[in-house]
């Protein structure tokens, strides 16, 4: 352990094993945990205290902004800036302005949500310490990983390693911090 560590990574065969490991780690008082799996594990996410409620708010806010901008611009362009008599219809033909408003609201909501998602996840991030772990590629296939980060107050390389080994993983590997 000459070079600094990002954390210690334990590999498991099943989601349940991973679940137990996480529970154990939390009981042991570890707080800086990160779990990796080939597919979404909602209960585990709860266990790790992930709150995703921000997503719908993003969507809602974006939709609102989009709608206001769209209706506002339609009104301003057709009724204020260059008021033209179009087929004798009123300048503010609000019913006719509604469809585009709704559509654009959806456009903003959709785009904001998905782009916001990437920002929240700090993606793109092509390089990440965990990629250095041997066998980690199977996380996108059939393996489950628990990582205790080195900046956890209770982290102490030897002890933590022992703790992880106690969870009977496939193996425990060091995650070198990127220099």
């Amino acid at each position: 352990m000459t070079h600094p560590l990002y954390g210690l990574m334990a590999e498991f065969r099943s989601p349940d094993a991973l679940m137990d490991a996480v529970k154990a780690a939390k009981r042991a008082g570890f707080t800086r945990l990160d779990a990796f799996s080939p597919f979404p594990l909602s209960d585990l996410a709860e266990e790790l205290g992930v709150r995703t409620t921000v997503i719908p708010w993003i969507a809602f806010a974006a939709a609102l902004i989009g709608a206001v901008i769209q209706y506002g611009s339609q009104y301003w362009m057709n009724a204020v800036d260059y008021p033209l008599n179009v087929g004798g219809r009123p300048l503010d033909s609000w019913p006719a302005f509604v469809p585009a408003t709704l559509i654009v609201a959806i456009l903003w909501a959709g785009a904001a949500t998905l782009i916001g998602l990437l920002l929240i996840l700090r993606l793109p991030r092509l390089h990440h310490p965990v990629f250095a772990v041997h066998g980690f590629e199977r996380v996108s296939n059939d393996r489950f990983f628990l990582c205790i980060l080195s900046d956890d107050p209770l982290f102490e390389p030897a002890a933590t390693r022992n703790f992880l080994n106690a969870l009977s993983p496939e193996n425990v590997r060091e995650v070198p911090a990127c220099g």
Binding site: R13, S14, P15, D16, D34, A35, F36, S37, P38, F39, P40, L41, S42, A45, L48, V50, T52, I55, P56, A59, Q70, Q74, M77, N78, D81, Y82, V86, G87, R89, S93, A96, F97, P99, A100, I103, V104, I106, L107, A109, G110, A111, T113, L114, I115, L117, L118, L121, L123, P124, R125, L126, H127, H128, V130, E137, R138, V139, S140, N141, D142
Partner: protein, 437 residues
């Protein structure tokens, strides 16, 4: 159980990662590529010479251009509507067909988008429908259904492609991790944006994905209605009907489903994904297709009923469309999109590849004729008898249509070749659930 997912991922991922493309694929690609060239040619010629090279005239100012536009949009909307519903219902079927349903939608929108631009008298000015601060200080006219449609189609394109891509990210990661060559790894790696399967990420990913899927539902309904409004808000006797949006949405769904079914059976057969798109899935798809065909059938009846109620010129117009010079179009539509799908009352038919291809194609064709009948057959009746004319398509516009079909096919081929056609992570997820239960 542990070996199971392994196998899953491999078979699906093998397709993009294998070097052997297969002769059929190549042939198919070359053929569709030829049609794409045809597309390019017809587009250039119409841009240079003008839309006069088509059969359009007064009063038939719209011909194949709008027919095909409405048709492609129908496919796009049907497919993404279907995809969205699946995501929301968290149905098993979703895992298998969802991905390429979205793909179909995306490619169909691309094909559709060609027409509104190139059917213009002066295509190079299409951007005038976008509100930008021009020095002549004239703005778009937002009361126009065409302006609504401009927003609708661009929104559809953007949201669908984003949704599709975000859904792809984890699978791209899988491909990254499984790819053999360094370049393939790097390529997939870049597009995977460094996805590392963190549970936290998964949680956000799922939430966002499902939310956008919800958003797609109203979008599709509005968009399909907008397309219908392009006809319904005009004074053309046969078009001026409130039922148009319903008709377009329902027939569009049938059409989208049929194309999805078509692709599904082709994939089963072509990529041997039988295990992941199994009889059950295809059977369910078949039932959906049948149901949607029945709904369309009901709407055709409703059409006649409302015509009877409307009376006057509107009635004449509808009946002339059903019995007049262009009656052939209408009845072809009925046969192909309503009658033939009744085949799917038989379980055997629903599960047979041949029948799947047959019905899929037939509904697609049928709805195409339906659009033809609505646009051309509808325009033949007008208020002043003096101006009635006839419309017959010319070679260039037929070529343009075939060209877009070629483009669609080509895109689909590249998609099945280089990307996972079914969502691998979701299959893993499902199987985990099965096993744990």
């Amino acid at each position: 159980m542990s070996s199971e997912p392994q196998a899953v991922t491999s078979t699906v991922a093998e397709v993009p990662l294998s070097r052997r493309f297969g002769l059929i694929w190549w042939i198919a690609l070359v053929v569709s590529g030829a049609f794409v060239l045809l597309l390019g040619y017809t587009l250039v010629s119409v841009t240079i010479l003008g839309v006069g090279v088509w059969g359009v005239n007064i009063p038939f100012v719209w011909g194949f251009d709008l027919i095909n536009y409405a048709w492609w949009i129908g496919i796009a909307n049907g497919a993404s509507l279907f995809a969205a519903i699946l995501v929301l219902r968290r149905h098993d079927l979703r895992t298998s067909v969802n991905r390429f349903a979205e793909g179909v939608a995306l490619f169909a929108v691309i094909c559709a988008g060609i027409f509104p631009i190139f059917h213009l008298g002066r295509p190079w000015l299409f951007y005038w429908t976008f509100p930008y601060p021009a020095t002549f200080q004239v703005w778009p006219q937002f009361r126009s259904t065409l302006t609504w449609d401009f927003w609708a189609i661009s929104t559809h394109a953007i949201v669908t492609s984003l949704l599709w891509y975000v859904g792809l990210i984890p699978d791209l990661a899988t491909l990254r991790d499984r790819a053999r060559s360094k370049t393939a790894k790097r390529l997939y790696g870049v597009f995977a944006l460094g996805w590392r399967g963190s549970v936290r990420h998964w949680a956000y990913h799922q939430r966002a994905y499902r939310l956008v899927a919800i958003l797609v539902l109203p979008l599709i309904l509005i968009m399909q209605s907008t397309v219908a409004f392009e006809f319904a808000v005009t004074l053309v006797p046969d078009w001026h009907e409130t039922r148009q949006p319903l008709h377009f949405v329902a027939t569009g769904l049938a059409q989208g489903l049929s194309i999805v079914l078509l692709v599904a059976v082709l994939l089963r057969w072509g990529l041997r994904l039988g295990h992941y798109i199994d009889e059950e899935d295809v059977d369910l798809l078949g039932k959906l297709v049948l149901a949607s065909a029945l709904v369309s059938g009901y709407l055709y009846l409703d059409e006649i009923a409302s015509a009877l109620l409307a009376g006057g010129l509107a009635q004449d117009a509808t009946f002339k469309r059903i019995t007049g010079d262009y009656a052939g179009l209408y009845w072809t539509a009925i046969v192909y999109s309503i009658l033939i799908p009744q085949l799917f009352w038989l379980k055997a038919a629903r599960q047979s590849t041949i029948a799947g291809i047959f019905v899929g194609v037939s509904i697609g064709t049928g709805i195409w004729f339906d659009r033809y009948s609505i646009i051309v057959g509808g325009l033949q009746t007008d208020y002043l008898p003096s101006i009635s004319r006839t419309y017959s398509p010319t070679l260039p516009e037929t070529g343009l249509f075939l060209g877009t079909v070629g483009l669609f096919a080509a895109l689909l081929l590249l998609f099945v070749r280089f990307l996972p056609v079914v969502s691998m992570f979701e299959i893993r997820h499902d199987e985990h659930e099965e096993n744990s239960s």
